[in-house]
């Protein structure tokens, strides 16, 4: 039955139990072609991929791509009018989209937010996910230590090229809770629930570099399937974030408001199913913001350290501004950067631009939405656009 399906071009399902093994499980033992018949030397052509040519790092990129979720405090604040002797509600905006701003919520306040984010990844290291290729090289049949290109063993120069079409989609529901312990000190938690859908379809063909290739290298009923597929859906809790922010400078003349933020990402997400990194991450961050008239620029910068591979350590920064178009409407823009200085020997730099708005329809209730687009598409695992919606209430 399997043979028949292969011959008619229907993909064979791989046997990956965990989503992280989806690609490696497409042809788990390499590709074996149809055994040759006389008069050609009898052999079972066996092609192997020396590595998955970088695709194995896709798993890490996928799990760590969730790190940009942010926890905003968009409470309104007061300044003091010394001449009238009364507090004056500031005309601050409703807060940035993805960045933090320095002021804290305020003692005894509780900010509850729910966000929904949809990510449909489209490129990995600049390559379209639906046009990935992996080359499987012929094994050294005569044992001479080289891949022969001439002579009777020239068929060793043939290559089996697998075209892999990947589809990765994520739906992330994140529940944010922030509590103001003191006027200047917030603590918070983010609990993401992630639904991930990963599909991989492989289509292998022989790249013929030898005159005898067509006689010895062919797919057939006794070969590995040329069309395979794998993947599945998983839903589960992602990596939980614990956060604390301390605002140590506020309303000091020309100085910006300043805060320090500490974040711990716990390995609560299942790394085997790409729901988490499997490591604990620590992110200390400096946050600066200041309102100048109708404009509130903000800068966040920090270095994230992980208990996992050193290549995953990264410098994060967000530069942007938010502005209040109307007392109940704020628009904001953020430039988001993540630089992994130890990756690939020369570093990896991911740069995105986010823009969106926040609306305050009633009381302390806020709704918002933003779109995030990549500015450099050749780095990391990227989506053409990431959409996010948020609802927030301050008690």
């Amino acid at each position: 039955m399997t043979v028949a399906l292969c011959l008619f071009g229907v993909p064979v399902e791989g046997e990956a139990r965990d989503l992280r093994d989806t690609i490696t499980s497409l042809w788990p033992d390499g590709i074996r072609l149809q055994p040759t018949a006389p008069p050609f030397p009898s052999h079972e052509p066996h092609f192997r991929a020396s590595s998955l040519q970088g695709l194995d790092s896709l798993n890490t990129s996928l799990a760590s791509s969730l790190g940009f979720l942010s926890l905003n405090s968009s409470a309104s604040s007061f300044t003091f009018d010394i001449e009238r002797g009364v507090p004056v509600r500031t005309t601050d905006s409703l807060g940035p989209l993805l960045a933090e701003r320095a002021p804290t919520l305020g003692r005894g306040k509780f900010d509850l937010a729910l966000t929904y984010t949809r990510i449909e990844f489209s490129r990995f290291q600049g390559r379209p996910l639906d046009k990935l290729t992996v080359d499987f090289q012929h094994e050294d049949s005569n044992g001479n230590g080289i891949r022969d290109t001439t002579g009777p063993f020239s068929f060793e120069s043939d290559v089996v090229r697998a075209n892999i079409k990947l589809s990765i989609k994520e739906d992330i529901w994140a529940l944010f809770g922030t509590y103001g312990i003191t006027r200047n000190w917030d603590v918070g938690i983010v609990v993401p629930i992630i639904h991930i859908q990963l599909r991989a379809v492989g289509d292998a063909t022989v790249v013929r570099n030898s005159p005898v290739s067509q006689f010895v290298h062919n797919f057939g009923p006794d070969s590995s399937p040329s069309h395979v597929s794998g993947g599945g859906d998983k839903t589960g809790i992602g990596d939980i974030l614990l956060r604390t922010k301390y605002n140590f400078l506020r309303n000091q003349g020309a100085w910006p408001d300043l805060a320090v933020l500490g974040q711990v990402k716990l390995p609560s997400g299942d790394p085997d199913n790409l729901l988490g990194t499997g490591h604990t991450n620590f992110l200390p961050m400096l946050v600066a913001s200041k309102t100048y008239g109708f404009l509130t620029p903000h800068v966040n910068a920090g270095y994230e350290l992980t208990t996992g591979p050193r290549e995953d350590d990264n410098l994060r920064y967000i530069v942007g501004f938010d502005t209040r178009l109307h007392p109940r409407l704020t628009v904001a823009t953020d430039l988001l950067g993540r630089w992994e200085p130890n990756r690939n020997g020369n570093g990896s730099h991911i740069l995105d631009l986010a823009f969106g708005l926040k609306w305050n329809p009633v009381g302390s209730f806020l709704v918002g939405g933003y779109a995030q687009i990549p500015l450099n598409r050749n780095e990391g695992l990227r989506a053409n656009v990431i959409w996010s919606l948020a609802a927030e209430y301050i008690f």
Binding site: F78, F80, G85, V86, R89, G106
Partner: protein, 314 residues
């Protein structure tokens, strides 16, 4: 029936014993509840100062976050559950709510401008530390500017600063100055009132902590008046001096105002009636001098004023 010698002796001994016992038992620390009008630095500093001065215990702290409904609920909770011996209200909003809701409990306030216009004069349970600069300080500073300063012009709304003007008139008389006052009822009347002051040949113009004076157009007109008539303007804040007032006097420390309130609270909790304790004015005052403005008016600022200035705009 008369009391015998022995009876009087026993009674005296009992009195002595009771006195000794009462002095041996430590005085109970009274409970104080705090309510802030909003989360602003000035109020936090005042609370800090209050805590350093207070000899009693703060059992609850609330912030009404500028929300009067929230404030009313908080005061209800204070009255019903916390039941403190005294409420400390920081800022005008907290004072307004507490004055209305907690009519019998002793209340001390801080960081309130023009308290008589907020609570009237009938509240027997309330006193506190205002953020007003003592009128004596302002008028003496004006007098120090030189003997040419004799007639000081003011524009005021009786409902807001009538109490302050009455006090200022008394002090001015003592200092040999004359207040030329124009009473108005809204900011709209301020500019015509300034025109009538121009006819009265005043030597200085004083910006009062009165809403009618603080409307931007009125303040702008006062600055223009100062330049055109070559009379110095006395402002209420450093920003007034930066705008062109020759002198400005404002409270220097929220923390110190909080300390003053803490001292008042101690007196009340030691047994004094709030009605017997008058509200206080800022004892630390910040003086800003604008030399540039003085130069434009052709004035020389005496060294005694420059020496006392916290900030001089060159």
């Amino acid at each position: 029936m008369g009391v015998g010698l022995l009876g009087r002796l026993i009674l005296s001994l009992l009195m002595v014993l009771l006195t000794l016992l009462s002095s041996a038992v430590p005085v109970r620390a009274a409970d104080v509840a705090v309510i802030l009008s909003a989360d602003v630095d000035a109020y936090s500093e005042a609370l800090k100062g209050f805590k350093t001065a207070l000899r009693h215990k703060i059992v609850a702290e609330y912030s009404m976050e500028g929300d009067f409904d929230r404030g009313r609920k908080q005061v209800s909770e204070i009255s019903a559950k916390v039941k403190p011996d005294l409420i400390f209200a920081v800022g005008i909003w907290a004072l307004q709510v507490v004055a209305k809701e907690a009519t019998s409990m002793p209340v001390v306030y801080a960081m309130v401008l023009n308290p008589p216009s907020v609570i009237g004069t009938g509240a027997k349970n309330i006193t506190g530390a205002s953020m007003n600069v003592p009128v004596e300080r302002t008028l003496r500073m004006l007098k120090q500017l030189g003997p040419q300063i004799r007639r000081v012009g003011i524009v005021f709304d009786r409902a807001k600063t009538g109490y302050l003007v009455a006090r200022a008139e008394a002090v001015a008389r003592e200092e040999g100055l004359q207040l030329v006052a124009r009473e108005i009822h809204s900011a709209k009347e301020a500019i015509p009132a300034l025109d009538t002051l121009a006819e009265q040949a005043i030597d200085a113009l004083w910006v009062l902590p009165d809403e009618t004076n603080l409307v931007p157009t009125v303040l702008q007109q006062m600055l223009l008046f100062s330049y055109r008539r070559k009379v110095p303007l006395i402002g209420l804040s450093e920003s007034h001096a930066q705008m062109g007032a020759v002198l400005s006097l404002s409270f220097a420390s929220s923390e110190d105002i909080g300390r003053q309130a803490g001292e008042l609270a101690n007196s009340i909790l030691d047994g004094k009636a709030p009605a017997d304790i008058p509200y206080t004015t800022a004892r630390r005052v910040r003086l800003t001098v604008n030399l540039k403005a003085a130069q434009k008016l052709g004035m020389e600022i005496p060294k005694s004023i420059l020496g006392a200035a916290n900030s001089v705009i060159q």
